[in-house]
Symmetry: D2
Subunit: 435 residues, 4 copies
């Protein structure tokens, strides 16, 4: 079965309860498809504390449904395994003890087979619960929706984490075979002008959104320009050739410390030097593609590149303001990145009518906005309240979505966030400048 | 000579050139006064990489005038010492090599006497330059003003750094003898309401301001409340007694990591336990004063305290908006903190007419705003451009000014900033809440 | 098939060439048997840099035969895989690049199946080589013997390393089911007296020995006593109860640093406190057995225990001198330790005729001798010369052999060695004292 | 006063009690002389945890007399300062709490003047005690002798530690002015043959010795050769030029790790490259002297050099055996090293009659012997028992004495010891080889 056909799942317009149950099946199956190319040993490994083993992702997303939904609506149901509650808790202090994150890669037991069985058992219990709960309790619907969005986030992490792990293997094994990508562009970027003013950002629809996207609120924006596409590998190579990694004046102070300490001289996964670069991808080692977007850069690198180009990174409100004005058929990825193959192309890469293309789906776009609470924000009560708020410190917001982000998971108000030194996500650069 | 009499220096209304020269003398002499209670050995020590030896502060502030002013307006003048350019460069990559920050405490040579001689020689050269340049070049005036404000920042650091160093000495020596402080308050805090709306923040006067206070720009503020005084030691003690340092749900995730790793259980400089706390101050070890403001808390602690109190920290724009509405006679410190003695009391501690007191001069107040660039911000060209911009990452803004901040250095638009784990500054807590 | 039946393999008295080939089969099969209870995921994990994944042990021991024997005597033979030379090189700089040791646990590829195939292919090639080389070249015989002893060392490491890895799993899975052990003793230890004098130690037979056991040489020994059995868990518990882990006067300075830094309060794998201890074993979690030998103690702990008991640890020459005087039927393990079940009991645990029992096969015995070169020692030329000499620094010699040491691998002159903080080996304590 | 005239102090042949008192005066005054060229700030600094500030050495050596002698023989005497007992305790757990070693450089209080006063007061008390105790109690005499030898050890550390601290100052200040050194030799080293056999080593005279030099005992030595001089800077330069720091086959495994981690490419204090080396000395930066002994090498470097030269380092018993056969007029240093100027030349540098010269007084000589207890060794009871025994782990013995070792402190049985990575002592290389 081709993994591509499942990442997008146009929501069937049936009755809401059946639609939710159907969506549950789709999302859960998609996770399974993503794990198919991997051996039990692949699913076991953890290459750094920020990453988790695929097996752990498979279990943790299941744990979420068992812990937050089954335990609540079916309190008499015995736990699948008495210790899974602790083993597969990610960071919920409210839930109790948890297994230390850096040691997730040591859990050879339970074996992968047990985790698949765990998934099946929980799925079966959820199916019965869907029937019983259908349309009776909005909290149930909301928690299921949260669990599915949570699992979609982990689908993306499965791919970013296994990419990082496999990249450290000297055999440089591909996650999946290569197929040709659509061509990119070598034309210089165009600048789309926005007049700013008072504008409303945040979650404003009836669809699902995480708590950190609310409350919607007004902001004042000065006029600004936004580039109509992402910075390409070829453009980034110019930055390298111009001594970008050797000039402290281009960097934030913490960024320069990092460049020196880790001896960065190119984005993560770039190997080689000068005019002979290769890039490790989910399809194995591939030659640099000058017209494809650059990815796997940290905030520090995105910021330094922008300073070198004498412009800047966009604020998150600017980005969202622009995204709100995109026609809906631009709302999908331009498939220029390595992993675009993971799903079909749904939108043209050519900017039309002065709008930026590629706002979604090639690479996450670093903004210069620190990740914080919107005015009036309050986390939900209980354990799910630990979802977002407690991470609002020393992280930057990324917008858009990458080639490994499930398409249905992407929306203009979505706020992704990572520390400024993170590079293992598919994170790229869109430029902005003042008028 | 009493140190107190120099920290405030009402600008004499003479002609501007003479006024600047007079201000130079005042600021430079104040630095000397601050170092007077200290031995050569006290001036030598460096207790952590974030701190610098007093001797280094004395030399570096002088280096600033020599490097950025004398070298520019008197290019033929030989350097005082060929290696001081490197030894006392703080972080200006543009200026060239620098001595590694963590090793500043190892520079037993040059001895303190040489540094005093260095100061005298540079002061003499500056005096001659004042006469020659009087009123001829606005750039000269601006650079002098920058140098003086820079030195005032280091006056504050001299006190915070020597406090930290002396506190680690088991003999717990005082920096200066104790005198009785004005009494504080045990009344619950009042809440002052602000209606918000579109308001202008940033540098809007003709006085000096750092680059990071510009450009002035409009922001939208929802209505909010601001507490009319700082959180007291007695109130903070309640937080401790209620298990504040043992409840992860009260903390940011990075904050909780820090609590565990460094075993925090009270603010920096608090010693003891339960109901028997003593606090190391510039006057030596002193009993806790329940009605005085709490200080030396990190952003993490300020944030956790606010969450415990079911309110929040103010945004920096809210704070500045409130400060703009203060009558001018409230513009000085309420002298409740240990070091209030360093300068005379210039304002009542009693909130009058629904305005918050103590906005300036007791303790720096953590805001929940990450330190970033105002829209349209551009750092100055050249080496002085390294002053602020490159530190705009993973830091939080503090507003107000503390008991060791020179009074003339305080203004509503001033933006101080430190990483969220920093505790060795006189940093306290003012609460805010949504309407 | 029972693993136990293969760990001892009385060398059949056939012609030497056939005997060597038969021994090759035995040793290689024994390794396979040890891996049988483990899943591919178990074989993948690496719990600390000192340990290696079982998969890596399986590959590395095979690499040894391919690299040092097949490549030499069959130079035209293509490598099994071009990158295995680098992937499975442990520490031989002469051989070229190697994969970083702490990252061995990340090699999910090649999968375990490939490694089994690798072993089969190399075994087949070795079989053909045995026929061709039979009795023609003593260097060939020596290298095979070295390779087999090398593999036996790794058989032991397979068990110590998987024990460490599984112990960190909160599920505490057993490596194999439990069977009852022979009872130990609660009698106080007896002291066997040796008169010392001029005695010869080191490799003095025609059998195999590692280079570090040569040259045999004379040493002078003062008279001494050696305990007739190992320190038991019950005796060690007395040390703990008497504050052994809280009294710095009992410890070497570096040992006390380690106790404080890692908060040791019992041997590795002991869980619980006071009078309720359990011990993680290869059979899972088991109650403490007061009469069984204590194991998994560091040199620091062995040394502190001896100081507490007002005696000392033996020198390695004393130990070897005593071992030379043991009747041969005492040459095998007393099977008191958890894993004694891995092989049949071959010797009585009862000391007979004033000789110490248990000199071999329960736990490695720390000596107080730093690991160094015997007078006149010279490492072999070439890559195999990197086997021992370069590790002669900051390690201590252990003698005897443990319950997971292959019986045929044990001999009086054998010198095992580990850093003084190592605890994951089956290392125990035999006491000694001056006359 | 010339520092040189006091480092040697031929013991006057007066009555023993007066002789001991006189020796006390000599040793204490010599310490004062060593500190004379240093400012209070120089005496304050601590460049790494292994080093201590000079001020601390001055206080700690005084603390030793107050704690172990005055407190014992004059129990009613009040302590000089109640907290000095803790502040200047080095590592005696028996004595109670101590100030953390890495923070010694932060003790700006007590100031240097107080420490001088401390020394004077204790000296005065000791003088009175000498009169009262004269010849009455051998324990008193032994403790005084221990205290004086202890202070002599710290005299050496004062120089090695201040050298390290000043070397990190970019101004590279000299400790004292330079004077010309005696010329060395460029002749190849000669080899002196020893027949070995049964020989007695350890403390065998009536003079003072540390506990670790006892008991004297017999050892068996095979015949061996010892070089008749130390390895020179010129010879060591050949090792560097031949890629000595780039060839892992020359190094112990831990040594190679250290070379890579710290990027060693020459001895400590060597600056420059290829054919242009300068060396930081107590007289400031000086050109390399090809014929002078190399110093400031670690055990790892000494061992690697010996391997490169296809010989080895001597065992400590070999060294002592050779030293016992030296005519007494060879018992002093050859003054070839930088700091030889610190005392007059007392012996010829020319080997006479087949004996090695320079066995004492140029540089400490690394032996290949791990530092351990002699057979039958037992540390003294009480706190002084913490002097040596607890450090017998992961250190190597050095023999001889260096140009900064007090001459009266040197004897054939003296055992100095440092970890194999230590380089800040004046440690050099004498070669040995098997017959």
């Amino acid at each position: 079965m081709d993994p591509a056909c499942l990442l997008t799942h146009p929501m069937t317009r049936q009755d809401p309860a059946r639609a939710l149950a159907a969506r549950y099946e789709q999302v859960r199956q998609q996770t399974r498809i993503l794990a198919e190319p991997l051996s039990p040993e692949d699913c076991q490994i953890q290459s750094m504390p920020d990453c988790s083993p695929v097996k752990w992702h498979l279990a943790h997303t299941t744990w979420f449904f068992e812990t937050f939904i089954l335990s609540r609506f079916q309190p008499d149901r015995p736990a699948f395994h008495p210790q899974y509650r602790m083993l597969f808790n990610s960071y919920y202090n409210t839930i109790g003890a948890r297994h230390p994150r850096p040691q997730r890669g040591l859990l050879s037991r339970p074996p992968l087979d047990d985790i698949w069985r765990y998934r099946n058992v929980i799925d079966e219990a959820m199916r019965r619960l869907f029937i019983r709960m259908a349309g009776t309790d909005p909290v149930f619907d909301q928690l299921v929706e949260l669990g599915l969005n949570h699992e979609q986030q982990h689908q993306e992490l499965i791919l970013t984490d296994i990419k990082h792990a496999l990249s450290l293997n000297p055999l440089q094994p591909p996650y999946m075979p290569h197929r040709d990508a659509a061509a990119g562009t070598s034309a210089p970027p165009g600048w789309v002008r926005y007049e700013g003013g008072r504008t409303r950002i945040g979650h404003q629809t009836s669809g699902f959104a995480f708590d950190n996207e609310s409350p919607a609120h007004d902001v004042l924006l000065p006029p600004f320009y936004l580039a109509d596409r992402l910075v390409t590998q070829g453009e980034y190579l110019e930055f390298i050739r111009d001594g970008g990694y050797r000039r402290p004046d281009l960097w934030l102070s913490l960024g320069w410390d990092r460049v020196c300490a880790e001896q960065w001289r190119a984005p993560l996964y770039w190997e080689g030097q000068k005019d002979d670069w290769q890039i490790y991808t989910l399809h194995g080692l591939r030659p640099l593609e000058p017209q494809a977007p650059v990815a796997h850069v940290s905030y520090f690198e995105a910021d330094a590149y922008a300073r070198w180009a004498r412009v800047r990174l966009p604020r998150e409100a600017e980005w969202e303001h622009a995204a709100q004005q995109m026609p809906s058929d631009h709302n999908l990825a331009a498939n220029l990145l390595e992993s675009g193959h993971l799903r079909p192309i749904a939108a043209s890469a050519v900017p039309a009518g002065g709008n930026p293309a590629q706002l979604f789906g090639d690479a996450w776009e670093w903004t210069c906005s620190a990740y914080d609470a919107y005015p009036g924000y309050a986390p939900p009560a209980g354990a799910v309240g630990e979802y977002n708020g407690k991470f609002m410190c020393n992280q930057y917001v990324l917008r858009g979505g990458s080639c490994v982000t499930p398409a249905s998971h992407i929306r203009p108000s979505y706020r992704n966030f990572f520390p400024p030194e993170a590079r293992w996500q598919f994170s790229g650069i869109r430029l902005s400048r003042d008028v």
